[in-house]
């Protein structure tokens, strides 16, 4: 008998929670394929290391972009391989709860559930990421209190107000931490005339990226390819430059938080002022982001204890209490 699973199928990382056990897999959502034969060569961390460094016949891709499935067939193969890695076979068919962005289309929704069923799941249910994040962040969502959660992922940023076990207001934008990386890449190309890869851009973001001025700021040396000469070149980037480069993305995320606050019933607004908003997801780790949101919304912002795992923990809780919580799954509330 297979143990039931919860999967956070993120644009950046995929996490799997096994019922009764905890998190059993946490890897980048990347798959490396042989372009000629279509064979899978690597998945997860191994495939991630290949991004931008492969010979012509190998392609390392992220099958999800902007929270959307860009390639259904590759996504299905990735889900199948993930399930195989955690012990699912044709003889052991677990129930699976998968976290997906709330803005997912009906076609994408069906594609994910079909892929999980074809990969060996006996039943596949979907849950919105912000709902799972609120459960995983340990917020008192069972009470008639306004709980606000901001989930900034790789491809989407979702803000939700939750009270009495359900979503009261929701706002999502297809902008996330990968867009921050892309903005850094574009800035370095435009202002310094060098091309850098997405992994280098991510390293720059982690090293000196910030959404507002912070203490102990330092500069970073970046190596790339000179667009004029084609030769390797090093440039020095400052935190001010990075803040300028990523400002549009940050503003777009904050605008969606403001829209969600405006959608919430006035009775809950006072709860936000007292209890604050909770930041989860890898994008929430950007330095100065909590302070910037707090400054622009005048609402306190707090960081979740386990921002990277909150979503899968919430889905894991749903799989542990499957019958009692099946009303939360997408499609069950219609």
């Amino acid at each position: 008998m297979a143990r039931d699973l919860a999967i956070d199928l993120g644009t950046a990382n995929t996490l799997v929670y096994m019922k009764g056990k905890g998190i059993v897999l946490n890897e980048p959502s990347v798959i490396a394929l042989n372009r000629q034969t279509g064979e899978v060569l690597a998945t997860g961390r191994e495939a991630w290391q290949m991004i931008g460094r492969t010979p012509g016949y190998i392609v390392a891709v992220r099958p999800l972009r902007g929270g959307a499935i860009t390639d259904f067939e590759i996504t299905e193969r990735m889900i199948r391989l993930l399930l195989q890695r955690v012990g699912v076979s044709r003889f052991t068919r677990p129930k699976v709860v998968i976290c997906v962005p709330s803005a997912i289309t009906e076609v994408e929704r069906r594609a994910v559930t079909d892929a999980a069923r074809r990969a060996g799941a006996a039943d596949a249910q979907l849950i919105e990421q912000p709902m799972a994040a609120a459960i995983g962040a340990d917020l008192p969502i069972d009470e008639p209190i306004g709980n606000m959660v901001i989930d900034i992922g790789g491809g989407t940023s979702e803000t939700a107000v939750i009270s009495v076990g359900g979503i009261v207001a929701l706002e999502a934008v297809r902008v996330g931490s990968f867009d921050i990386d892309a903005s850094i890449q574009a800035y370095v190309r435009r202002e310094h005339g060098i091309a850098i890869g997405e992994r280098t851009a991510e390293e720059v973001k982690v090293a000196i990226g910030s959404a507002s001025v912070t203490e102990d700021e330092s500069q970073a040396e970046v190596r790339g390819r000179d667009l004029m000469t084609g030769l390797p070149k090093t440039v020095v980037l400052t935190p001010e430059e990075i803040r300028f480069a990523i400002d549009d993305v940050i503003s777009s995320i904050i605008a969606s938080v403001v829209r969600c606050l405006a959608k919430a019933p006035p009775e809950l607004a006072q709860d936000f002022l007292v209890r604050g908003m909770y930041l989860v997801g890898g994008g929430g780790l950007l330095r100065g982001l909590a302070q910037r949101i707090e400054k622009e919304t005048q609402v306190p912002v707090r960081m979740s204890n386990m921002p990277l795992e909150a979503v899968v923990m919430g889905a894991g809780h749903c799989i542990e209490h499957y019958d009692a919580l099946k009303g939360m799954f997408m499609g069950a509330r219609r």
Binding site: G22, I23, I135, D142, M313, H317, E320, A324
Partner: protein, 67 residues
């Protein structure tokens, strides 16, 4: 005689169909019960098990100082 058998069979059929219908249909819990179950399953006490399973264990102080 034959009429009696037919009536008996018909009555029996009605009873069997009635029994099947009463047991076979989806049984809905009253809204209050299922809502209470839903809310109870989201309580901090119900979530404690998952949180404890995932939360990193606190480091042993003695290990830090070297035993």
């Amino acid at each position: 005689m034959i009429v009696g058998v037919i009536i008996g069979v018909a009555v029996l059929l009605v009873i069997v169909v009635g029994l099947l219908l009463s047991r076979g249909g989806p049984r809905h819990e009253p809204g209050v019960v299922s809502f209470r179950k839903h809310i109870d399953a989201l309580s901090p006490e119900a979530r404690r098990q998952v949180m404890d399973r995932v939360r990193p264990e606190p480091r042993d102080e003695s290990d830090e100082h070297g035993s």
